[in-house]
């Protein structure tokens, strides 16, 4: 009797669980579709002719004669290669500087004692809450005064020293037990060696996360380069793509091909680093 009842209960429970699972998967698939369909559409449109892009009846994902030419033509229609070069250069330099200087500063904030520590950290925190747009104009005037207008270096100065990076790395380092540093100090290591030999190797997840953030935001930045980079040979891929859209408004296939090209590097970086990603966010205190 009791056995039967528990069996029944178990059965209905498992039935509920099954329905629950199905609902969960259904929702997930719908969300995944919403997330990914625009990208598939982009891929599909990038090998279509202008007429085919908006052809709905019948709609095909891959046209009968794919226009692979679109991927060749975009390189000649605009100096895309130059734009890519500029962006790659900027992104790599900014990311490296950001990682290096933020983790350096964060180590000091997390593990060392010094005067005005709280005041200085407060300055960082306060600017996180300050939208860049609030001071972009004076910043621009100042940079121009320094002769940095229309120089890639301006973008580097602008993006390499973010408060966010320091904040994130500091949160992460605080999660690393102090004993580890103490022990190293007992062994006679100086602070620089401790940073290099102990802290850095431990901070892979946080560094990966910061890399993704910095890489993505530098690669995709639009307003910054728009203000600072004026000469065509210095423009970044986002500006170039936007310019291309302005000039060849009805060349949908080409625009989409250009867009696909601009996405590849960020997506690659993300895919490579993503296994550390959630861990990095969790351990760097970004969750609050």
């Amino acid at each position: 009797m009791t056995n039967e009842m528990t069996g029944k209960k178990y059965k209905s429970k498992s039935k509920n669980a099954l329905i629950g699972k199905i609902v969960v998967y259904l929702i997930l698939f719908i969300i995944a579709a919403i997330m990914i369909v625009p990208f598939l559409w982009m891929l599909s449109a990038s090998i279509k002719s202008n007429r085919e892009v908006f052809l709905m009846d019948p709609f095909v994902w891959i046209p009968e004669v794919p226009k692979w030419n679109n991927y060749i033509n975009i390189w000649t229609k605009i100096p895309l290669l130059k734009f890519v070069e500029n962006t790659v250069f900027l992104t790599i330099v900014v990311t490296c500087l950001q990682l290096l200087t933020s983790s350096f500063a964060a180590y000091s904030f997390a593990k060392l004692e010094f005067k005005n520590k709280n005041l200085m950290f407060l300055a960082y925190i306060a600017t996180i809450a300050m939208p860049w747009q609030v001071y972009m104009v004076p910043q621009f005037i100042m940079m121009r005064g320094m002769g940095l207008n229309d120089k890639l270096l301006a973008m580097i100065c602008l993006q390499a020293f973010s408060a966010f990076g320091v904040f994130m790395m500091k949160q992460f380092y605080e999660g690393i037990p102090n004993d580890l540093c103490e022990a190293a100090r007992i062994d006679g290591m100086n602070e620089y060696t401790i940073y290099a030999k102990i802290m850095l190797p431990l901070s892979k997840p946080a560094l990966s996360t910061l890399t993704i953030f910095t890489f993505v935001s530098t690669w995709n930045d639009y307003l910054g380069p728009l203000i600072y980079l004026k000469t065509e040979s210095k423009k970044t891929i986002q500006l170039g793509l936007r310019m291309f859209i302005g000039q060849y408004s009805s060349e949908y296939g080409l625009i989409m091909a250009g867009s696909v090209v601009s996405l590849i590097p960020v997506i690659l970086v993300f895919l490579v680093l993503q296994k550390y990603f959630v861990e990095g966010v969790a351990s760097s205190g970004l969750k609050g």
Partner: protein
């Protein structure tokens, strides 16, 4: 003089070896640390005397600490802090970037309430924030809870949800404006053929009152993956024992969420809401790219604060006026952050 020094060194060296002895015998880690610190001090004094150094140990320690901070802080101070101070000053001037600076007091702020375009920008920005923040929060939390369960291909779903975040705005706004094209786009085509919406009533996604909705939907779509990851991290910090205990008490799924997940995620939600608010107030490129048409100009239905800041600064060269609008933006962000902060503190108390 030298003799005195030698005596001093000798005394210190004795102290040093004694301390070393004590360190090896001491078991209590706290005391041990203190001893080490003392010994370090002694050792440092010795070398200081030997080398005729005058910098104190504290100063050296601080110099090391500052040396870590300097590379970032100098850049940060020059390129961020100074411009911020500059921005505050500029808001009270009518500088045009070339002629002499004149201070105009509160003039700039006084003309704001009668400026139709500023008011439109303010209104649109607030509507956008009010729409985007809660929607993104709910969507990302929901998705995070789903993905925190044991589902197959979890990694796949996570990656896919994060895609829009990493994708460049220029590229995906181009896709959106094609997909939501008012007369040729697939979205309206589906509305026309599947939902049988009459052709005349097909929504014009990028103009009129709908444009803000489009901006909101787009932002939720683009940013939910990012906040989902933050929520996921928060969820992983919740101890499973809490749920087990809840299960024993017979809590159902909703109750578990209401009494365990939600309160446990409070600080995460705080962080998410603050970051979302800040980011939403900054909206510019999304609006220009989706609603700007060919020339990137926004009409009153889609104009936002940052757009108006940019216009005033780089088209009219009213740097003072543009800075005063920036101040309004800053004050709003600040107030919302402070309210959040107070609320968070109250909950924790």
């Amino acid at each position: 003089m030298n003799e005195k020094k030698a005596a001093q060194v000798k005394k210190l060296e004795a102290e040093f070896s004694e301390l070393t002895q004590q360190i090896y015998t001491e078991n209590d880690i706290v005391k041990k640390r203190k001893l080490i610190a003392r010994r370090d001090k002694v050792r440092w004094k010795v070398t200081a005397i030997k080398n005729n150094r005058r910098i104190s140990r504290e100063t050296k320690r601080e110099l090391i600490a500052y040396s870590f901070i300097a590379p970032n802080f100098i850049g940060f101070a020059v390129f961020t802090l100074i411009p911020i101070v500059f921005a505050f000053v500029l808001a009270f001037t009518n500088w045009d970037g070339n002629n002499a600076v004149t201070f105009v007091g509160l003039e700039n702020f006084k003309s704001l309430p009668t400026d139709t375009f500023f008011l439109a920008a303010l209104r649109n920005t607030i509507i956008y924030v009010l729409g985007t923040v809660p929607l993104t929060m709910v969507a990302s939390l929901g998705l995070a809870i789903l993905l925190n369960q044991k589902v197959k291909a979890r990694g796949f779903f996570r990656t896919v949800a994060f895609f829009p975040y990493v994708a460049s705005l220029v590229a995906i706004t181009a896709v959106w404006s094609m997909m939501f094209h008012p007369s040729k786009g697939p979205v309206n085509y589906l509305l026309l053929t599947v939902l049988k919406v009459p052709q005349a009533d097909l929504p014009k996604w990028f103009s009129g009152t709908l444009v803000l909705l489009t901006l909101i939907l787009f932002s939720v779509w683009k940013y939910m993956g990012y906040y989902m990851v933050i929520y996921l991290a928060g969820l992983q910090g919740i101890s499973p024992e809490l749920y087990e205990a809840g299960g024993l008490d017979g809590a159902n799924t909703w109750q578990k969420f209401r009494y365990i997940t939600w309160p446990q995620l409070r600080s995460t939600t705080f962080f998410v809401v603050v970051m979302l608010t800040i980011n939403c107030f900054k909206v510019y490129d999304i609006a220009v790219m989706l609603a700007g048409g060919g020339d990137g100009k926004l009409s009153t239905s889609a104009t936002v604060l940052v757009y108006y800041i940019y216009q005033n600064a780089f088209n009219y060269w009213k740097l003072g006026y543009s800075s005063s609008i920036a101040m309004v933006l800053f004050v709003m962000v600040l107030i919302i952050t402070l309210i959040q902060f107070r609320y968070q503190k109250k909950l924790e108390a």
